[in-house]
Amino acid sequence: MLFVLLGLTIGMATVFAVYGLLEAMRAEMMRQASEFGANVVITHDRGEMTFSYGGIALPEVLFDVEPLTLADVAAIDYIPSRSMITAVAPKLLGMASVNGREWMIAGVRPQEEFRVKPWLRLQEALPEAERKMELDIYWLDLARQDPTKIVLGDRQVLLGSAVAAALGANPGDRLTMGGQEFVVFGLLKENGSLEDEQIIMNLAAAQELLKLPQEVTVIELATDQTRGAERVLLDDLAAALPEAQITSLQQERLRRDENLTRMARFGVSISALILLAGILVAALAISGAVRERTREIGIFRALGFRQSHVARIILLEALLISLVGGIVGYAAGVLAARAAGPLLQIGTLAVPWRLDLLAAALLLSVAVGLLAGIFPARQAARLDPAEALRFI
């Protein structure tokens, strides 16, 4: 019977470890999706689509279209579902020449920008010697940049890593653009995104530099999907900004959800196979135990136990073992899921103890145990008592 318990425990542990992992990953993705990153991008919907920002086609930014303005940004504050928006990051995009080469200028509100792009990090101004000693692990820092520390003056800029490398610029260096002199406030760490190739400055400074006062190219919004329905937010935005094109990045989340669903299906398939194997192992083990207990069953029958009594004894034993297997398996599954988070490099996952899952584990385990016990129970009940007692 130890093998039955072991088989059931392993089966249950696997099922609930996989389920716990998937649930925790889904929760973590939802949390990240609502906490980090832009979920909605607002652009103007007229003009030729000749410009791309972050994979999203933008209207021609420099001419030929009626642009978004700061008034549009302000209008967002008055929509009914404003509480869903956690950050509003307007930006003006354009080109400017530095040392004879054209670079993309991004005029932003730095603190909002860092909120919607949590992957942005400032390089620390470390001494040269210390910088050489940095280990790779240093770059695995996952703490987000504190946006409140990014306070740019109107003549200060942040340089993307590629720009800084091309210009050989360091914090404190001076750059001249459009006849205006800017001081390099800091350098962004390389992150493989569009910002590597940008010169970032205050929105007002960019508007002045590009001679596009009040103008905004794109407005990115970070939203908290847990505070309301995205559809309502999009409708409110469309009503407030009738001329704008509003794009939801829900698609991205759907894609993630789809991946997660695939993983879930895979997990369910694996779990089903393991459960099936568990049922077979348990059935074989119980069947073996029944054979070993032929003598005992013969005695029971001689003492007046009916076939149904004998079957009930076997099933009751399977039930008790299943209950223990369910409890131990669930506990082992939760602990395994918690331990698997760091091993799978997805951080510490919150896999809580849940009474409903414990109840499900017990039900599942009992179902598996009883299913595995049915055949051996019939086998035991049908033992001919005279045959069984011949072993005596």
Binding site: R301, R306, S308, A386
Partner: protein, 242 residues
């Protein structure tokens, strides 16, 4: 005239085997009366154990009928026959056959498990019979903590806890020394004196002294050869098994 408790008529039992048929019983006709104590003797292969299993409602005869207390036991369904065993028969097996992981008390409680009685009443019944067989102080011991004689007493207590009218015993003293065997046989006699009908398979001629009647089986039939009966009763030519 005494009332018949067990009535056997032309009982035959044939086992099939690869070597052909084995005729274990070839026509036994026998009456056992209420409160009678009968010893069944015979050489190995004479059909003693087969007869006991047929009387025990465990092994249907190939031919013939058997009635216990007027009930044709093999006309009953399997489950009703199990009920019959519980209500009418007590078994004392060779080598005690106690469940090793149950205490003496729990072993004795076994036949009561399926009875609809309050647990307290079941325990009282078990305690009474354990006291009756002289195990008052050893009720909570596991079988391996008991001597052979004590284990035999537990087996007897288990057989009588349901107060069956018939007790079937297969070599009850086979694993005991003569002194302990004598004590056990005295216990059987005492139970018989209380009205229990006893049918006992034995190889030990000494045990027949405690029984009211001795029958001898030979080649699946009742033996009527007086010389052979006397030889067996005197302990000559006996072999174990059967």
């Amino acid at each position: 005239m005494a009332e018949v408790m067990i009535a056997m008529r032309e009982l035959k039992k044939v086992y099939g085997s690869v070597d052909g048929e084995v005729r274990a019983l070839r026509g036994i006709t026998l009456d056992v009366y209420k409160s009678e104590a009968v010893a069944v003797m015979g050489h190995s292969g004479s059909g003693k154990s087969t007869l006991l299993s047929i009387i025990g409602a465990l092994n249907p005869p190939s031919e013939g009928t058997i009635e216990i207390d007027g009930i044709n036991i093999y006309a009953l369904s399997q489950e009703r026959r199990a009920d019959f065993r519980r209500e009418y028969l007590g078994f004392v097996f060779q080598q005690f056959q106690l469940i090793p992981y149950l205490t003496a008390m729990e072993n004795v409680l076994l036949p009561l498990v399926t009875k609809r009685l309050p647990n307290r009443q079941k325990r009282e019944l078990a305690e009474q019979v354990l006291c009756r067989v002289g195990l008052a102080g050893k009720m909570n011991r596991l079988p391996n903590a008991l001597s052979g004689g004590e284990q035999e007493r537990v087996a007897i207590a288990r057989a009588i806890v349901n107060a069956p009218p018939v007790l079937l015993a297969d070599e009850p003293t086979g694993n005991l020394d003569s002194k302990t065997g004598g004590e056990i046989m005295s216990l059987f006699r005492s139970l018989n004196e209380d009205g229990l009908t006893i049918l006992m398979v034995t190889h030990n001629p000494d045990n027949t002294r405690y029984m009211g009647r001795t029958i001898v089986l030979k080649d699946g039939l009742l033996c009527h050869d007086k010389a052979e009966i006397l030889a067996l009763a005197a302990g000559r030519g006996q072999r174990r098994g059967g």
